[in-house]
Amino acid sequence: MSQRFDFYLPRDSWLHRLDPRAKLWAVLLAGVACFLFRNIAMLAGLLVAAHLVLLSAQVPPDRLRWLWVRLLPLLVMILVLQPFFAPGPGPDLLRLGPLRLTVAGLLDAMSYALRAATLTFVAAVLLLTTDPNRLVQGLVKLGLPYTWGLTVGLAIRYLPTAYGLFVSIGEAQQARGWIVGQGSFVARARSYVPILVATIIASLRLSDSLGMALAARGLGYPVRRTTLYEVRFGAADWVAVAAVSLAFAGLVIVRYGLGFGAAPW
């Protein structure tokens, strides 16, 4: 029994029932919106909105917590390193040799960190609530060849598998006396080589077998492919698309019309 984590959990919520294409549109616009603003309040607002949407769609809070836990190292890294490498104007809060820490730098870093977090949870709105097969079918209906859509779906599906391989191979090498993750940064990076190489080899083998299995079950059979996971645009989807488009238009007006939101604070 593996400890896999599936992004998608089947539920019967309004969000789950939306056509994947509508959700893709929403995610696209929300993603662009993240880049329109550097204002911390606006980004935080988007982040909160994403959470509200997810929670209203019966996504269990511990899924969200799981994402936050994985996201935290990245956010901390941004918050800690960014201010030193791109100090803003203004008085120094702290000085470590040539490195300066300013309030502006900190605010900037917070903005970036929020953006990373918001992008993650916006993507989660799509991935946590959409059946992968329906997502692929949505893409197919938008014109993407099925094999491309399948590739995307497989990549997502096999991420946990590849990670599981990485972990178990790491254990195997450690059991052979190999020390991992200690010492200087260079030594630490080098310590992952036996694990990475073995993982890549094992993954390549797996993908080779998978390719054969796909062919053996008829992928590429010369007929038009049918599917159980049909997607159809309904009234709710048009409403969602309209609502998101209007909101996005509003945000654009706020940003460029009113000139608000370019600065972190």
Partner: protein, 286 residues
Amino acid sequence: MTDAILLEGLRFAYPPLAPDAPAPWIIDGLDLRVRAGEWLAVMGASDAGKTTLCLLMAGLAPHLTGGQMEGRIVVAGRDTRDHTPQILAGAVGLLFQEAEAQLFNPTVEAEVAWGLENLGLPVAEIRARAEEMLALFRLEQVRQRAPAELSGGEQKRVALASVLAMRPQVLILDEPMGGLDPAGRSEVLAALSDLRQDGSTTIVMTESDPEAVAAFADRLLVLDEGQVAMEGSPRDLFYQTERLAGLGVAIPQMVRLADLLNRRLGTAFCFLNVGQAGEALAVHLG
């Protein structure tokens, strides 16, 4: 009756790893005829060519693997040189040894339906066949679960269901008992036994486990270095214990027992499983 599978003068070598590297013949001169509805087991040491034979019969070799092939293979009336594995998929089903590499859909239901979607069947037909398979392999309870989370035995059943949903004329199983715990083995044995009752599919099974072979196979083929070393009924072949040992093939424990008793007592037992052994020895004990 036409043969379901015909192999004539078959030789196959994988492409060499470097231009000047050797490319040994993995299959080195194989002739075989399998009648429709027959259940053939193929045994042999791990490098004898069993998996390669499976790939060849499904057209995956040489189309996807590359390499050089001589002779011909005709499966379900189709020559594998002229048909790609995708086209053959309609008539030939292949069950791989590793569940990981063939179960990739988000739910069991999706998995069972996937092959049928590729064949472009009408949605109603897909739904009907999927229901049939889920019921046949007792997978209704897990239909919404991810195949990757299931136990080994369940995964094999899902794989079987997915392949059989396509109603192949020929089913190829590569080590179906591989890697299963006793519970999983009994599950798969039960599923295979149902299949056997049906009798409409021709089955080729490579297997290391002699118990499964003794239970199901009509005919047994022992491969050695890409060639047929022995051929006959399981009962006939398993009792050639010395020769099988030399070929790296395991024999059912009951056969070993019978062989030992026969040598030490001069008896002529020929049982294959515990049931038969119990009867024969009870009679012998009087």
